[in-house]
Amino acid sequence: MNIAELQKKLLASARANPPSDDVPYAFEQRILAVLPSKPACDILATWNRRLWQAAGPCVAVMLLLGAWTRFAQHKDSSRETLAADLESSLYLPFDNSTETW
């Protein structure tokens, strides 16, 4: 017997005869009878959804802050001023030779 052909034929038979979509009479009443008054709150699903919702705004804020910091660095030389101030403060005792501790 040709098994491959038999397999094809049986699958074709299943394809040609789809199951019925008949619904037993008033089946929906059976389900409605067992439904609670309100869907239960799925805490994990809610938490998951909120995290995904928060991801977009967080990335946007991060990008904005990154861009702003980079832009501010180029425009402002306060970093160099700060470095110079720090250096002069550190070397102040050595520069001022008259002062003794």
Partner: protein, 197 residues
């Protein structure tokens, strides 16, 4: 006939009402989608009581998980995913003794096989015996093999659709489909060996 956008809007309104505490709004959703869920469940369970239990479980799950429905895709797709996964769970929970011999076939099924062995074109695929036979062979398969054969080969869905319905990745679906076809061939060989090979 309402277009799909209208249907989706109507579904979305009903879902919002259910989530707001109006349980009665679930009834139109139930009435609308239960034929599809019944047809899906009948692919995996034979006894009508089992089919009804599966459908009830699908809709109870849908009700309880309704707040996880994000509305990115139509409600029907979300519900069918739930239905397919529930059917898969059913198959896994009801893995009976999958041993079967040629003696388990009815006379009609044996006749059909005889006709097929003599001349394959003489055995009609529309015969009731062929339908019964394929049911029996599918029942011999492992749950994953039965699911993938049903979705890919019988319902004629694409690998991508099967992946979306089952939650498996595309490569996993391809591997399981390959194994499922081999498993089905092996089952047929085993059944026919005694008499024909």
């Amino acid at each position: 006939m309402p277009d799909s956008a209208t249907v989706e809007r109507a579904d979305a309104e009903l879902i919002a009402a259910v989530l707001g505490g109006d349980t009665a709004s679930f009834e139109p959703l139930l009435k609308k989608y239960q034929p599809r869920v019944f047809a899906t469940a009948r692919r995996y369970a034979r006894r009508e009581s089992e089919v009804e239990d599966i459908v009830q479980e699908v809709f109870l799950k849908a009700f309880h998980k309704l707040n996880s429905f994000r509305g990115d895709a139509p409600f029907e797709h979300w519900l069918m995913r739930l239905a397919v996964r529930t059917c898969y769970d059913f198959l896994r929970a009801h893995q009976r003794n999958r041993e079967m011999s040629f003696a388990d076939f009815t006379d009609e099924e044996t006749d059909w096989l005889d006709r097929f062995a003599a001349k394959p074109s003489d055995a009609s695929e529309n015969a009731a015996a062929a339908r019964e036979l394929v049911e029996k062979v599918l029942a011999l398969l492992s749950p994953a093999a039965r699911l993938v054969i049903t979705l890919l080969e019988i319902e004629d869905r694409s690998v991508k659709e099967v992946a979306a319905l089952t939650g498996w990745s595309v490569p996993v679906v391809k591997i399981r489909a390959f194994r499922a076809r081999a498993e089905m061939r092996k089952c047929l060989e085993k059944l026919a060996r005694g008499k024909y090979l």
